[in-house]
Each structure stands twice: as C-alpha cells, then as structure tokens.
Subunit: 354 residues, 2 copies
C-alpha cells in the first residue's frame, strides 16, 4: 500500500525545508508517493489566490499534507483573507484540523543554545495542544466607520463541543506521557475562558489518572520562562497557543527544531493531518541553502506517526535527527564553526535513518 | 500644598506591600496625606461588592491611587463582573486609565536571578506601553445556548482614537529614552490589529526622530526571551500587553521589582494615575511578612513622577531601591541566605532615601 503525501512548499525557506523532509520521509518509507501543489504568496503569483481549489483537492486525495511556510513582503495593506497566511488558515478550516500539537523539546547537545540557563532547560519535554479552528481566528470580524470613528472588531467565539474535543486530545496525550495537563485561559476576564475552564474541568473527571491545573495566560507566559520543565501537556485556545508555543520554542534555544501536527481527530485515531515547522518563511536566509530542515523533518516524523501509523519509521527519523543534532553536522543557526548546509544536514539524517 | 493619595491595599500581600510603599513615599515626601479604602475580595467581604462607590469617590478626591492587589480563592465559578478582579478593571474604566506603563528593568546585582543567561539580561531596560481600557477586556461578552450548543463570545474592539492616543504615549516616552518603538500586533489575522498597525504608522510620521518596528505578537513572545535588550518601548493592545509584560518581568529574574503606572493622559502632562505592583496577591506567602515590597515602592516612585510632578523624590526613591537591591538586605525571593523581612527591606530603602 502506498502512502499519498501532498507537499505544499509555499514561500520563503518552505521549499528548501520541505524538500529535505520529503527526502528523509522517502528514504525511511519508500512506499510514500509525493505530489506538490501551490500555496501562499507563491500561489498568489501563479494562481491569483493563496489557496487554489486544486491545492485543496490534492489534499483531499492524500493521506497527509507536508506544509512548508507562507508569507511574504508587500501584503501589509491587504485584508487578511487575501494574504498568503490565509492559505494556512483556510487549510485548517477546510480539513477541520482543530488539534495542533506543538512539542517543545530540548535536544541533547543544544542546551547551551538556549537563552535560559542550561540547567533550567536540560531534559525539557512539553507539548502544547493548541485549539486551531476557533477563537479570534475564525470569529466574525468587521471594520466600520461609526459616527466618524473607525471601529475594528474581532470576535473570540468558543462552542462547548470545540472545547470538549480539544480537552480530550490533551488528556489522551498526557496519559501516554507524564500525566499532567495545564489548561491555560484568561478566565478572570473572558467569558469564553470561563466556559473553557468549566468544560476542561468536566472532561478531566473522565481521566482520574491525569492531574489538571488551571493557569492564567499571563502567568503561563511567565512560568514558561521561569521553569519550563514544570509542564507536561499545555492545552489552550487558538491565539494563546500561538503565542505560548513560539515562546516555548525559543526557550528550547531554537525554533529550528520546532515541529507541529494539525489533526482533525484524536492523535490515537490514525487520520488525515497537516504537518509543518513553526519557524515560518525566514526571509533573511531564503535561497542560501543554510536553513535548518530539522523542524520540517521532525514534522514529517509526526506525519508518519499520526497519519500513516508508521510508528517505527517515526521513531527512526526522530532518533536520527536527535543523533545528528547531538553529534553534528549542524546548520549555521546551531553551530559556531564550519556549519553544514541544509543538504549536508539532511544527508547525515538519512544516513542515520538506515 | 499637600498631595492626596488614595491607598487601596486589596487582597493577599496587597496590604503588606502598600504599607511599605506608603512609608517610603511619606518619608520622601512628607507633604503626602494618605486615605485608605476597600477593594477586591476584601471589599466583597466588607461591602458586598469588589469596587464600592466610596472607593471610587475617594479616588476622585485624590491626586493618585496607590493600589495593592486583588483576587482570592473561591471565585472560580463567579462571573467576571462579581470577581475581585472586577475592581481593578472598574477603576481603569472609571478613571479612563488607558495608558499602562510597565518597565522591565534588570537591577544591578540581580542578573544571576534571571532564568536567562546573565549576559542576555545585564542592562535590560525596556518599557511596555499597554493599552488598558479597550480590546477584549471591555468589549461585549455573551454566553448563550444556541440550538443546544453553549456558545461564549468575547469581542475585541478598538476605535481609531484609542489606538492613536496610546501610540502617542509610546512615542513620547521613546523620545525621552533610546528612541525606538516596537508595535506588537497580530495583523496577519486580526482586523483590529490591521487598524492598529495603520494608525501607529500614521502617528509615527509625527516622530521622525523615533524609529518604529512592527512585530507579530507570537514573534514578540519569542524575541523577549531571545534578546530582550533589543527592545526600548513596546506598545501593544490590552491582552497582548498583559501577557508580554508578565513574560518580560520574569525575564528580569523577578516579578518582585515589577512596578506599573496606569494613566489617563500622556505621562508628560502630570495627572491622575493608579500605581500598582504587577505581581498580584501571592497567596502562598500572605501574612508572613516576607513579601518583596520593591515593586510597590517603585510604583510609588512612578506615582511621585507622573501624578505629583515630584521628579526629584521619584529619582531618590528609585536610587534607594536600586542600592538596596544591589547591596542588600534583600527579601527571601531574591536572597539565598539570611533574607530580610519586608519591614527590614523597607527600612533600608528609607534610610537610603534620606
Ligand atoms: C501565519 C499565522 C496565521 C499562523 C497563526 O497565527 O496560526 C502562524 O503564526 C502559526 O502559528 O502557525
Ligand atoms: C487581574 C487581571 C484582571 C489583570 C489584567 O489582566 O489586566 C492583571 O493580570 C494585570 O495585568 O493587571
């Protein structure tokens, strides 16, 4: 049986790092077939829209999407739905990818890259479970002139079942880990957070073996810097997850290893998903062949695990990346002397995969 | 002429730290008179409401409010407007305190307390200018059952003039500092952020001597950990400011020195304001006499500067706190051996104020 992977390289370093991920995944799982489609600013250039219908169609015919990055200069004055970023938001919505898993993991050998003191980061292993199809991202928006005053509105909307299903994802995940969930909200101000807290608390009762702590988002932003290893699984709404996952990635010392999975169902039920490095387009290093492909390769490993059910291959890729990060060669972002190119790093990972 | 200060101690360690701040302010400026009123959970207990009318009335008769902290256990299932926190939100609204200044400053001698490596933090000196009376905090909220589905809504609202006036505060402040403003938004997703970015850009044109950079909030959360000294003045909307200012405080190594001013006009125009440590109620150490009063005392210094026009006294207090933090004695949160009590720390500051 073949595994059908849709590859959406997108913009910036997206094409460079997805090419690396495709190579590694193909080497680890020869039964994968890859088909490419346009997305982001590249798709605006080629198709006049950030998310062409044929890109969505390719996704529907595939077992999973390997996604690069979207974004570009010159879209500052363009409304959100016409920007390159609309592509990733559109894909999340079109495929109902409500569960975004973002691990923050301190790889051995990289402790000294962290802005935090090494002893606070060594062994760090947390996962942020970010709700991905609700909240301010998809609620009603408006910009109106009212009595001469320009007024902008975004709406943060959550429905009970949206909170319930993402809570289950977090508790299921915690069960296979250190059995601790931190639910992050702003329930002292937001009604949506009050509903969030209540429903997460209800779901928790079905998981007596997992402990639950509630934390306000401002405090969570603080604790991630103070003692990140105190966390196991963090579950939170869309925008808080966006902010905290980038912060957590930087705490590990690099966003070059920050992978992510966006799923439409529980991670245990093997199904369709979208996999992307969280680092973005990195415009400053595009086309120089020096981008760190580790995050894209680790995203491909998540793809193998969650969408293909190929656990053994996923672990093989993850071990190969970990060994390459520990022993080298490393790309310029993680190396002071004689850095490897993206290609050299990828080749080293593939050699260790075999 | 006397200066009339309203003291609102509130809950948790609020009474302990405001008492210290009152002592220091009284010693530095004997012409201050202090009157106290109830707020927060304490006011719910004594008056049945977190923000009694007479507390607001006392504020109106005063030049400034010195505020402690509000919050308490047992309010989790209570709607936001009946919680202790409603008091601080109500005060911000009642007095139109739209400009929240939150410095993050690395005091000499405390570098080793930071979770970040000392060389990344030494000399850190940034100010977050947080918009305080708009956004998700004060927009319409609802919780409704629609076709059997519980749906919660919070609305993020910004009007053009609200953005314009807070931008001016940031640029004015930057002019007296290192002349750099970073405006933080989420303009690739939120319409309110697009309006924000446009208006901040417009205001920037009136300040050709100040440079402006726009940054997405997820990236800002990352950069505050990676290289906090790259920032001078950060201006952002209410909830982003809440999150980033707590993160920035922790980056300095302690929230025990994090002061804040909430103003109803530009900081240059001496006027009414509310001053509070951002650390909160610290339930774990209440009543033990060990809370760090530095943030409350530094808030009192901001009060002297912005509401009383007593620049010399403000600087005297700030120098005394800095010297005490550098040379000791320090409270338990900042000291490994033989920590000082709150009272001893305060006495040391007062001795250095003279
Ligand atoms: C590009 C942007 C719309 C996106 C988001 O905010 O979700 C990105 O920051 C992410 O985290 O995947
Ligand atoms: C207590 C709470 C409502 C408040 C806020 O979110 O503004 C606090 O976190 C703060 O930052 O002053």
């Amino acid at each position: 049986m073949t595994h059908r992977i849709a590859v959406l390289p997108g913009d910036g370093i997206g094409p460079e790092v997805t090419a690396a991920a495709v190579q590694v995944l193909g080497a680890a799982l020869p039964e994968c077939t890859f088909r490419e489609a346009a997305v982001g600013a590249a798709a605006i250039a080629s198709h006049g829209t950030p998310l062409p219908q044929e890109t969505i169609a390719l996704g529907r015919e595939s077992d999973a999407i390997l996604f690069g990055a979207v974004g570009g200069p010159g879209f500052d004055d363009v409304t959100p739905e016409k920007r390159p970023e609309a592509a990733i938001l559109g894909l999340r919505k079109a495929f109902g990818l409500y569960a975004n898993l973002r691990p923050a993991f301190a790889f051995a050998g990289l402790e000294s890259r962290s802005p935090l003191r090494a002893e606070l980061v060594r062994g760090l292993d947390l996962v942020i479970v970010r709700e991905l199809t609700g909240g301010l991202y998809f609620g009603p928006k408006s910009l109106e002139r009212e009595d001469g005053v320009l007024t902008a509105r975004d709406t943060l909307v959550y429905r009970d079942f949206e909170i319930e299903r993402i809570a289950r994802v977090a508790f299921d995940l915690a069960r296979a880990r250190r059995k601790h969930v931190t639910s992050v909200d702003k329930s002292n101000v937001l009604v949506s957070s009050q509903l969030w807290r209540r429903i997460v608390g209800d779901v928790a009762r079905e998981y007596p073996d997992v402990t639950l702590a509630h934390m306000l988002v401002d405090n969570a932003a603080m604790q991630l810097v103070r003692d990140p290893r105190a966390f196991d699984v963090i579950v939170t709404e869309n925008l808080f997850g966006d902010i905290l996952s980038d912060e957590a990635a930087m705490v590990t010392g690099t966003i070059g290893t920050a992978a992510s999975a966006s799923l439409g169902g529980p991670p245990s039920a093997r199904g369709f998903g979208l996999y992307e490095p969280i680092s973005g387009t990195a415009p400053d290093i595009v086309g120089r062949g020096i981008a760190n492909p580790a995050a894209a390769i680790l995203s491909a490993a998540m793809l193998a695990r969650f969408s293909l059910g190929e656990t053994e291959a996923a672990e093989r890729i993850e071990r190969a990346v970990a060994a390459t990060l520990a022993e080298g060669p490393r790309t310029a972002d993680l190396s002071d002397a004689a850095p490897a190119t993206s290609t050299e790093f990828t080749a080293a990972v593939i050699a260790r995969c075999r």
